[in-house]
């Protein structure tokens, strides 16, 4: 049981890193991205390819994985920046799938669907961090969670973090306040991708093999759920969100009923959690409380109301 719990905590850590990255993109800057699986994949494959084919040290591949993913983040960010909301979500989702499909089809580099096996176990000071023994890896992953948590928290509370948040609150106003919104948005994408790339690197070293079907769009959805369920923009909350989603995803195994209940049960419960959560606590478990602004001020702008009415009349609703 302990060993199983450790595994869950390791995956919680990996997902927490992904969610921290997503939080910069979605939680702080307000861009609805569904591409985290793609950045995750790039990180994992960078580590897999560099360690297996070129014998590069695992530790060196972590920042490289992050940088490659960040480059992809810029590539995704630039053309899609003009898109908003759901459009951005679909476009980034598409990019995530494209990344996976490129990996799947680039056989000479990635071995396509066969995946890459035999990734060496990382060593530190002559000691091997054996993923099968878990404790070492658990420490490694959570050290990274802590590092990213501290870095990103600090970042959010800086001038730049405020600029990102301003973009989320009102992009046009931020733009008028002298914030180069385009640059900051690309930058947020790159930071989020970098973090996800590092998570990918760790994941590759943990599973010691990578296959493209690990990085499906469901991973991106899960990561987004962690951010939203935890509380958007709140770094500790998204780590918490990662834990909750992991527990929710593994609860039948944790309760020892995985073999007795129908396998679909878990997914149905998960779906229910999502729906109920959105209805009763859309701001997330630790999110901020939002107040309905329209009710507070109660004033509709006269001119725009007139214009809006006119538009409707033009359609001819009025009998």
């Amino acid at each position: 049981m302990l060993s199983f719990l450790l595994l869950i905590l390791i995956y919680t850590g990996l997902y927490a890193i992904l969610a921290l990255g997503q939080n910069i993109i979605t939680g702080v800057t307000g861009m609805l991205s569904l591409c985290q699986a793609g950045f995750f994949a790039i990180g994992a494959y960078v580590t897999a390819i560099l360690t297996v084919s070129y014998g590069v040290s695992f530790w060196l591949t972590i920042p490289l994985a992050g940088l490659f993913a960040a480059a992809a983040g810029a590539l995704v960010g630039l053309p899609t920046l003009r898109l908003k909301g759901d459009y951005l979500a679909i476009a980034t989702l598409g990019f995530g799938e494209i990344i996976r499909n490129v990996i799947l089809n680039w056989d000479s580099l990635t071995r396509g669907p066969m995946g890459i096996n035999g990734i060496p176990m990382p060593t530190i000071f002559g000691m091997t961090i054996n993923p099968y023994k878990k404790w070492g890896f658990l420490l490694l992953v959570w050290v990274f969670v802590t590092i990213f948590y501290l870095l990103l928290k600090r970042l959010t509370r800086s001038r730049m973090g405020r600029a990102l948040e301003a973009i989320k609150e009102d992009e046009i106003a931020a733009y008028a306040m002298g914030i180069n919104t385009t640059r900051y948005k690309v930058w947020a994408f790159m930071v989020g991708a970098f973090v996800a790339g590092c998570a990918g690197s760790l994941q590759a070293a943990f599973t010691l093999s990578v296959t493209p079907n690990t990085y499906t769009f469901m991973v991106s959805v899960m990561v987004l759920c962690m951010v939203v369920l935890g509380g958007m923009g709140n770094h500790i909350a998204v780590i918490f969100g990662a834990l909750i989603i992991q527990l929710a995803a593994e609860f039948p195994r944790l309760l020892g009923i995985s073999s007795t209940v129908p396998p679909q049960f878990k997914q149905i419960v998960f779906g229910l959690i999502l729906v109920l959560m959105m209805i009763y606590r859309p701001q997330g478990i630790l999110g901020r409380k939002r107040v309905n602004y329209d009710q507070l001020t109660g004033t509709l702008e006269q001119e725009s109301l007139l214009l809006r009415v006119r538009r409707i009349i033009r359609i001819g609703v009025k009998r």
Binding site: P113, M114, S259
Partner: protein, 396 residues
């Protein structure tokens, strides 16, 4: 706010630990009783490929139920623990971890996909769990450890037989391939194209598709333009049914060739008359082995669907594990895992429902390959082959 959160987090962790503690006690209790021997199954039970996991897990459950009805293993009930891998490495790892550390299974059947099997095999090896995969055909799998076996022929054998048979026996010179970008299809494509060209054939067109694609008309139209003598489609049932149906709708009259994925009877429900004439490599005809007809009937009676060949492999895998436990169990409540493993490795000419099962020294199945042709929506075995080096050897 912050403090409240910290408190909450501590509470959750504490609850988690408490929970673990309780679980451990439970585990201890059951161990004392030693009322059952556990074997596991790992496969995709939900998601796009849930049907494969479902069919195979049912075979394992059937094998265990039959054994228990017959008095169990030396009077002890066997319990089967089915874990969902969702077809992903991550969930596969969680599954093996749970089987190893919570259920403490002695052996397991699975995983289904090669990618997952390769990722979890080192864990099974380390925990001394005999792992028999009914469907992972990747060449690397048996080499991972001494506890890793499989009851499905490797890509290598099937592909060598197929390539040589297509070129020599069928006399095909110009072959087109349409495969799906997953490890199973691509593995077969790569190996078959090697052996087919080695035997003098030419691959004139290679088209691919993505897992989950439903429309293959573009690829088929392009292939049609190359005018091949035959099209090799080493895919899963869902894709092959689509391909055959759409080829018919494109009015393509060409020989289709396939692999063991075709031995799933579901193909006849889905593609019906379009299956006629297809030639494929598969496990030797079930009807020639004793007990297999009974298995198909029992399976269909219990689950309401027909088993595929992977289910037969799963059934045999489960029985081989249980036989090995039966042979080595001393009645003390403790199971000597090394002995069980040795007993499994010693399996020779086991008359299973999937044919005669013998393991090579590396745990791979020593297999012969059946060749089938579909006549009136029924597979007819037209030969049994193996290879000697690269040369095709006809056994029947």
């Amino acid at each position: 706010m912050k403090r409240r959160f910290a408190l909450l987090l501590i509470l959750v962790v504490a609850a988690g630990l408490l929970f673990v503690g309780c679980q451990k006690e439970d585990a201890a209790e059951t161990a004392e009783k030693a009322a059952s021997i556990k074997i596991g199954f790992i496969g995709p039970m939900t998601g796009d490929y849930a049907n494969y996991g479902t069919l195979m897990s049912q075979a394992v459950r059937l094998a265990v139920d039959e054994r228990n009805a017959a008095g169990g293993v030396k009077g002890i009930n066997v319990e089967v623990v089915v874990e969902d891998s969702e077809g992903t490495v991550e969930k596969g790892q969680a599954a093996i971890e749970k089987l190893a550390s919570v259920d403490k299974v002695t052996g397991m059947v699975g995983a289904v996909f090669s990618g997952v099997s390769i990722a979890i095999a080192p864990r099974a090896q380390a925990e001394q769990i005999v792992m028999i995969s009914p469907s992972s055909t990747h060449a690397d799998l048996p080499g991972i450890g001494s506890y890793i076996f499989r009851t499905v022929p490797s890509d290598a054998l099937q592909a060598k037989v197929a390539g040589a048979y297509f070129a020599e026996e069928l006399g095909i010179k110009r072959l087109a391939v349409l495969y799906v970008k997953n490890d199973y299809s691509q593995g077969l494509y790569e190996e078959v194209s090697k052996s087919f060209t080695a035997h003098g054939g030419e691959i004139v067109a290679v088209e691919t598709a993505l897992q989950g694609d439903k429309d293959f008309r573009t690829q088929l139209t392009t292939i049609k333009g190359e005018n091949p003598e035959a099209i090799y489609i080493p895919n899963y049932v869902a894709e092959m049914a689509q391909i055959l149906g759409q080829a018919a709708s494109l009015d393509m009259d060409v020989q289709f060739l396939s692999a063991d994925g075709f031995s799933n009877p579901e193909i006849f429900d889905l593609a019906e008359d379009d299956t006629n004439g297809v030639i494929y490599t598969g496990p030797v005809d079930v009807d020639v082995t004793p007990g297999s007809a009974g298995f198909v009937a029992d399976y269909a009676a219990k689950w309401g669907v027909e088993p595929d060949s992977f289910s037969k492999n799963s059934y045999d895998g489960a029985n081989i594990i249980m036989d090995a436990i039966e042979k080595t169990y001393s009645g003390t409540g403790a199971i000597d895992r090394a002995a069980v493993r040795d007993a499994v490795a010693a399996t020779e000419n086991y008359a299973g429902v999937s044919g005669d099962v013998s393991f090579a020294s590396n745990g791979d199945l020593i297999a012969v390959q059946g060749i089938f042709q579909v006549v009136d929506q029924k597979p007819v075995q037209i030969g049994v082959y193996t290879v000697d080096g690269e040369d095709l050897v006809k056994l029947k």
